[in-house]
């Protein structure tokens, strides 16, 4: 049995060759060129990257420091593209900001100076475009003066931690939450609904690629009285939601959608709420719940949203 054969690097090498020959699927060409021009796969304007922080209700209770014109901060919240521009994912950005504020962390965001982290670009084989993003992001991050980077996007976490060089340490928001719960700076209310059964879905780039399995679970368990179970396929045996980061743009033809299988696994385990810690998992599982016909029976939300909902006033 071919266990233990690392194949990802070989696929990436094949793709590099194909990119040079121009053999990139049509559905991925637009996002790639949009990243080159505007720093995000939808080609939306750079100056709108921090617009999520301007939401009226949110801005009243939480101000977000956009580090422009030489401004610096101790901690940098690296938001990345999907969380910055997608209507639903912007909620994650707002929840994450509220948690950081609550925990007394002096943080800023790069705003229009932030470019896509490039995790998928590198893996699609567009090495030069990835290097371009890496150079621009590294410069902006170092200019921010941050001593710590926090992100809620495992794809960004993976790229900044493993593919970039010379950056300050990077943390996933689940690690921040656990740290601040231990120090007492984050206090959580008890679980409200006794009927809900929560299960944590391990995102690929947090779990199997970076070995971060326990912090998100510890963060959920910090909510007094919460009922959490694990699916059969969890931790290093987890099952991909099928999102694949920017592969969401690819639209493959498949008989069975992976997300639907995953949602059914959650149901089989007896869960009524799936908690995930990745914006791509969130959007894919939200969609899969509808396709599986489980609306009303199964919910999904992001770890940051769950914690934010339970912050003691």
């Amino acid at each position: 049995m071919p266990l233990g054969i690392e194949y990802i690097d070989k696929i990436v090498d094949l793709r590099r060759g194909m990119v040079d020959e121009g053999m990139v699927p049509q559905s991925l060409q637009k996002p790639l060129s949009a990243i080159g021009k505007r720093g995000n796969p939808w080609g939306k304007m750079e100056k709108k990257r921090a617009d999520w922080a301007k939401d009226k209700e949110f801005a009243k209770i939480c101000s977000v420091n956009v580090l422009e014109k030489g401004a610096t901060a101790e901690t940098l919240y690296f938001v990345d593209s999907i969380t910055s521009y997608d209507d639903r994912m912007q909620d994650i950005a707002r929840s994450t900001s509220k948690i950081l504020n609550y925990a007394g962390i002096d943080f800023g965001i790069l705003g229009k100076a932030e470019k896509d982290s490039g995790n998928e670009i590198m893996r699609f084989g567009e090495e030069m475009l990835f290097q371009d993003m890496k150079e621009k992001n590294t410069k902006a991050i170092l200019n921010s003066g941050a001593k710590l980077i926090i992100t809620a996007d495992p794809h960004a976490f993976n790229a900044l931690k493993n593919d970039y060089q010379g950056l300050p340490p990077i943390e996933h928001i689940s690690q921040t939450i656990v740290r601040k719960v231990k120090s007492g700076e984050i206090r959580l209310n008890s679980a409200q609904d006794n009927e809900k059964v929560y299960t944590y879905h391990d995102p690929c780039y947090l779990g199997r690629h970076n070995g971060l399995y326990e912090d998100p679970r510890d963060a959920i368990d910090a909510i007094p009285g919460i009922k959490r179970i694990d699916m059969l396929k969890s931790r290093d045996r987890s099952f991909c939601c099928g999102g694949g980061g920017l592969m969401l743009f690819y639209e493959p033809e498949e008989e069975q959608r992976m997300g639907v299988l995953r949602v059914e696994m959650a149901k089989e385990a007896g869960a009524t709420v799936i908690v995930t810690a990745c914006p791509f998992c969130l959007v894919n599982i939200e969609d899969a719940i509808k396709v599986a016909g489980l609306e009303g029976e199964m919910e999904v939300l992001d770890l940051a949203e769950l914690i934010e909902q339970h912050l003691v006033d």
Partner: protein, 263 residues
């Protein structure tokens, strides 16, 4: 086969915010990003595929300013053999006929079997291809979505008609074609490919190289003058019919009858 493709540098319309500038003469171009006109890109891909099949060269030409060079270079990275930039202050303010005259002057310096333009540009009027053919006195086929090479004197071209059918016509070479999107699947052009052609020379031709009189081009030669530039007033939104399916169908039939849609 010697093929020439006309390309244009246009603003991306999808995510750009298009606003008219403060003196109402043009759109505000400060925050715009530009790229090669999509229809032209399909034409270049088609030209490259034809050349790879029957031999010859692909030349890419653009009427523009020095920024248009990046678009020509991208098409060369894609596989075009050479690029030419037609640029001169005297060209500013040219109308469609002016652009066609400039292209005609360049085309007459060479000996091309096949000349292609995109069917339209994002910010254009879909006229240059036809005008060019008329000025060169060459046969012209528009909205081409399929090309078959018969021999070095004749080709077959296809055009989509109603019902998704394709009308095939034979056309003699040399000829001019305007190309429709979807004719092929353009190959990707990566940053590495663009870097490879970064130092290839792209000659710039102006009025003197092309032997053009200044009253034929630019604002001086324009028969069409822009009078006004504005964003149209927003109309009412769509009316959404409510009720059960039968109720909606009944209301719809009523509305169609009232507005003369059905008798």
């Amino acid at each position: 086969m010697e093929i020439l493709v006309c390309v244009k540098r246009v603003p991306d319309t999808a995510e750009n915010e298009i606003e008219v500038n403060s003196d109402g003469t043009d759109i505000d171009r400060d925050d715009l990003v530009y790229s090669v006109n999509e229809w032209d890109n399909y034409a270049v891909e088609e030209a490259i595929q034809i050349r790879d099949k029957v031999g010859g060269t692909v030349t890419v030409v653009s009427v523009g300013d020095e920024e248009s060079e990046e678009v020509i270079r991208r098409e060369m990275a894609m596989g075009a053999d050479q690029g030419i930039l037609l640029s001169d202050d005297a060209f500013n303010g040219s109308d469609g006929k002016g652009i066609a005259s400039i292209l005609k002057a360049e085309i007459e310096k060479g000996k091309y079997d096949l000349i292609m333009t995109g069917a339209q540009a994002d910010d254009g009027a879909g006229q240059v291809g036809g005008m060019l053919a008329a000025m060169l006195d060459l046969p012209y086929a528009s909205l081409v979505n399929a090309i078959e090479i018969i021999d070095d004197k004749k080709i077959k071209v296809g055009r989509e008609v109603e019902g998704g059918n394709v009308e095939m016509n034979e056309i003699e070479l040399p000829c001019v074609l305007s190309i429709q999107t979807g004719i092929n699947e353009p190959r990707y052009v990566g940053i590495r490919g663009i870097r490879k052609v970064a130092s290839v020379e792209i000659p710039v031709h102006g009025t003197s190289n092309l032997g053009l009189a200044s009253d034929v081009v630019g604002e001086a030669g324009a028969n069409v003058k822009r009078v006004d530039y504005f964003v149209p007033d927003m109309g009412d939104g769509a009316e959404i019919l409510e009720g059960s399916t039968e109720e909606i169908v009944d209301k719809l039939v009523e509305l169609l009858k009232a507005k003369g849609g059905i008798k």
